[in-house]
């Protein structure tokens, strides 16, 4: 096991770190230039990094594991990383026309560093590594949330996010240390085999619950969701978009891995009236309350970003079903779901980034948008309907895939699927509220003038096309995912 080998597996991450440093240096040399130019340069350098990393991942498929699971590269993690990099790339370009900071270089570097954290998170199968990668991601995201120094809401949001996050990290660390104490191992598979045959004793339950709390915070599942609405509302829009998209993909993936690999053997039973302690009923409970609370709370929101936050909580509930299926198909459906969800949410935040600064983010600010800016209105319609799960958009197939996978794995969990489908019928109401403003309501006479930057328009159209294409031809992603899951041996 040489360091060279490790480095070879970590080339994509290395490329991204280099890109982050390059952004910093490039920006440092042009302190006095026009801010937009600096943002474009930052986004370009970042994009080069992301593209190079994607190219490496696609050209050099790796299948290896070093340092007892500290770093695992297999087709599945590679695929998830490609998805993460694509979301990061789009986030970079959504940021180009958002003018909220003079520290452009730092901003882009932090986005890239957060992505590095997520990539390590995805390929970790060791609790120490998971924790370190999680902290790298989280700390970057806290700063990204606080980046708008002129806005008191941004600071408030960041403080809330940080305090909750710090607490959740403490819980998770506690849980992980108990897990280590019980098993004497840090590798997920080793933990599972050390715990094999052991009954679900109180200590293990504490460890399990603590870990679920830690991850529940990351994925914004009820009852650990309290930070989300404020962070989504207060953070600079591109940061919020990034928290809602990329970080979700990575967090869900690692959550699934920890549960499926680390807690293998203590699944318990999640069927209706057949509950038996274990991680499945725990997650099932979290998923159920997330779906119910997220969707019901979203109905009464008057601010589009808060609405998106509660919708994110609801979607966390649906995505947790992918974790619950506890098999290869489940994790495949989870990845499909989170990536397509990330795309749609990122796009929705992109539209808010166009409308918000001039007109505000209340629902009413979107009144009559379809006649002022038809193209981005159409994009928003695609994103909202995808989130609501209307075919032929990606969100629909994502839901179908997750639901089918979980019922396929365990017919007893049908109650959760019924709840999820019922709740997604509720969700159509509030997504239609947004579209009603855009398409049905008339623009107020005194509405401020609206400029739609070309770059963001192009990005939004690309995302919308992605959502449509992935929805009409899900095999484009489902096929590779299936192969990857088989190759990864999950």
């Amino acid at each position: 096991m040489s360091y060279l080998e490790t480095l070879r597996l970590a080339v994509p991450e290395t490329i991204l770190v280099v890109a982050a440093l390059s952004v910093l240096i490039a920006d440092f040399t042009m302190r006095t230039s026009d801010a937009r130019l600096r943002r474009v340069i930052g986004a370009m350098v970042g994009s080069v990094g992301c593209t190079a990393a994607v190219a490496w991942l696609l050209v050099m498929p790796a299948h290896a594991e070093v340092w007892q699971g500290m770093l695992v590269a297999d087709p599945l993690t590679q695929l998830v990383k490609v998805g993460l990099l694509a979301l990061t790339l789009l986030t970079l370009w959504v940021s180009v026309d958002s003018d909220f900071t003079a520290h452009v270089g730092e901003y882009f570097a932090l986005i890239l560093l957060a992505t590095v954290g997520m990539m390590f998170l995805v390929s970790a199968e060791d609790i120490l590594m998971i924790f370190v990668a999680l902290e790298l991601t989280s700390l970057s995201l806290y700063i990204l949330t606080a980046f708008n120094k002129r806005d008191v809401k941004s600071a408030e949001a960041a403080l809330k996010y940080f305090l909750f996050g710090g607490m959740a990290a403490a819980f998770m660390l506690f849980g992980l240390s108990l897990l280590y104490g019980l098993s004497g191992a840090t590798n997920l598979k080793a933990i599972a085999s050390a715990l094999a045959g052991r009954a679900l004793d109180p200590l293990l339950i504490v460890a399990l619950v603590m870990v679920v709390i830690g991850f529940g915070f990351k994925v914004a599942a009820v009852p650990f969701h309290l930070w989300a609405p404020d962070a989504y509302e207060g953070a600079p829009i591109p940061s919020a978009a990034f928290i809602a998209s990329g970080s979700k993909v990575a967090s869900f993936f690692i959550l699934a891995k920890v549960m499926m690999l680390g807690f293998a053997g203590v699944e318990g039973e999640g069927g209706w009236l057949e509950f038996r302690s274990g991680w499945v009923p725990t997650i099932a409970l979290v998923a159920a309350v997330s779906m119910v609370l997220g969707n019901l709370a979203a109905i009464v929101q008057g601010n589009v970003r808060r609405l998106l936050a509660y919708s994110a909580i609801a979607h966390a509930g649906y995505a947790l079903l992918g974790v619950l299926s506890n098999d290869g198909q489940g994790i495949g459906s989870l990845v499909y779901y989170t990536i397509t969800y990330g795309l749609a949410t990122l796009g929705a935040f992109g539209v808010v980034a166009v409308v918000g600064p001039r007109r505000g983010e209340a629902l009413g600010a979107f009144a009559g948008l379809s006649r002022r800016a038809p193209l981005i209105s159409m994009c928003m319609a695609v994103f909202m309907l995808s989130l609501a799960g209307i075919p032929p958009l990606a969100g629909f197939f994502g839901k179908f895939y997750v639901f089918a996978a979980v019922v396929n794995a365990d017919m007893g969990l049908l109650w959760l699927v019924i709840l999820a489908i019922a709740m997604s019928a509720v969700s159509l109401y509030y997504y239609l509220q947004v579209l009603k403003q855009i398409y049905v309501a008339d623009e107020p006479a005194d509405a401020p003038w609206l400029r739609v930057p070309v770059v963001i328009q192009v990005v939004l159209v690309l995302i919308a096309l992605g959502v449509i294409v992935l929805g009409c031809l899900p095999s484009l992603l489902v096929g590779p995912l299936r192969h990857a899951v088989e190759a990864a041996g999950l």
């Binding site: 075919p391 179908f400 396929n408 699927v417 019922a422 049905v440 095999s475």
Partner: protein, 509 residues
Amino acid sequence: MLAWTIYISFASALVLMFLPKDRPAAARVLALLAAAAGFGVAAAAFFQSTPGEMVTVVDVPWIPSLGIRYHLAADGISLTLVLLTGLAAVAGILFSWNITHRANEFFALYLALIGGVYGVFLSFDAFLLFVFYEIAIIPKYFIIAIWGSTRREYGAMKLALYSFVGSAMVLVGLIAAYVVSGANTMSLMELARYPFPPGFQFWVFPLVFVGFAILAGLWPFHTWAPTGHVAAPTAASMLLAGVVMKLGAYGCLRVAMTLFPDGLGPWGFDVMGLGSWRDVIALLAVIGIVYGAMVALVQKDFKFVIGYSSVSHMGFVLLGLATLNTIGLSGAVLQMFSHGVIAGLLFAVVGRMVYDRTHTRELTALEGMRLAKAMPFAAGTFVVAGVASMGLPGFSGFIAELQVLIGAWNGYPTLTIVTGCGILVGIAYTLRVMQKAFFGDDPVAARGSAADGETVHALDPISIPERLGAVILIAASLIVGLYPRVLLDRILPSFDSALFQWLRMGGGQ
């Protein structure tokens, strides 16, 4: 070739979406051409088809890893409903010739809806059918919310949520069926062959059936229909009553009843005289027929009368489904076609000919206007549509309802008699509304409207597109009424196919 009905509709919807906004004339001509092309394709396919033969249009893997196929095909039932869709689409555009506000968007959404409807009728893969079914929901919302009238946003949202709740129920059932069969397929033919456990069918059948039947106006889930119909612009009311409600009934027949036939069978115990889901459906259908007719009898709003009459007439379709014999089932399909045409005509008269000119639908206000003199064509059309709706021999409604009643007599003699009373109430409300709206001679009301002489002349004459649309629909109803074999020759043999094997094996009896 039949698949082009779907592609033409969606492609022209896309083109219309990006058409310049200030050219309503171009938009409607394009829309009419697209709809006419779709109708042409549908008619050609219908008349070229060999009775009793199922035509596979296209069958390719769509999502291979989940066994989902892009499978479009047509049997006689599909062909009949595709023909109806084409007819209703063309007529609807002729009756929205006066739309100028955001016309390109209107016709784009309209054609997207039509495309979805064609897709449902042609899908032979449950997943694909569901996808098209949901595609049809969203355009309805926008068409009603943007171009509608009375309480349009409420009506639109209610309609969208009811449809979505229904499709959510269907989705649960389909996922459960997909997993339980374990065959990794969504093909209707394959799933219909799979013997689902009776205990499973006992709860999945009503779930899927009711999920679809919500859209077919099954009492007591019908309340979206009157509000939605009333709020919708004319063309949308025509489509809603004409084809969208048929989507629901078609789903009941094509998915719920073929996949889970044992769900119709006896439970083995009685609850208040009801021994199976079949009995429950028949009872609800008859309640819908009688209730819809009685409520229509007391409405003050012209359009609500027609809205409730749709609920009543769709009850015949559901009753026909519950008969479980060939004559009743083919009567149900025939009634779908017949009601699609007649309801379209009624809504066209109320919404386009009367409301767009008088700007009121209050029957008391219309009573004073002497519309029969002002608009003889509208009055004539309404009389024809009214008698067709009552079920006068010679029109399509008669033969369809007669078949349903004959079919129902076998299992449900009492309910058949009650239904007969419902038909009498139907005649009563039709005559009442006809008299009030067009032949009012109430001297008090006449004096009330300032100068009746002038109101008579102030109304625009009935335009050519309206006349054309009315003639097409009346002709369709007459042709089917006088020569029902044109449809029945293709509908009846469809029930011999493998999908309906359970009919002959005594399934559900």
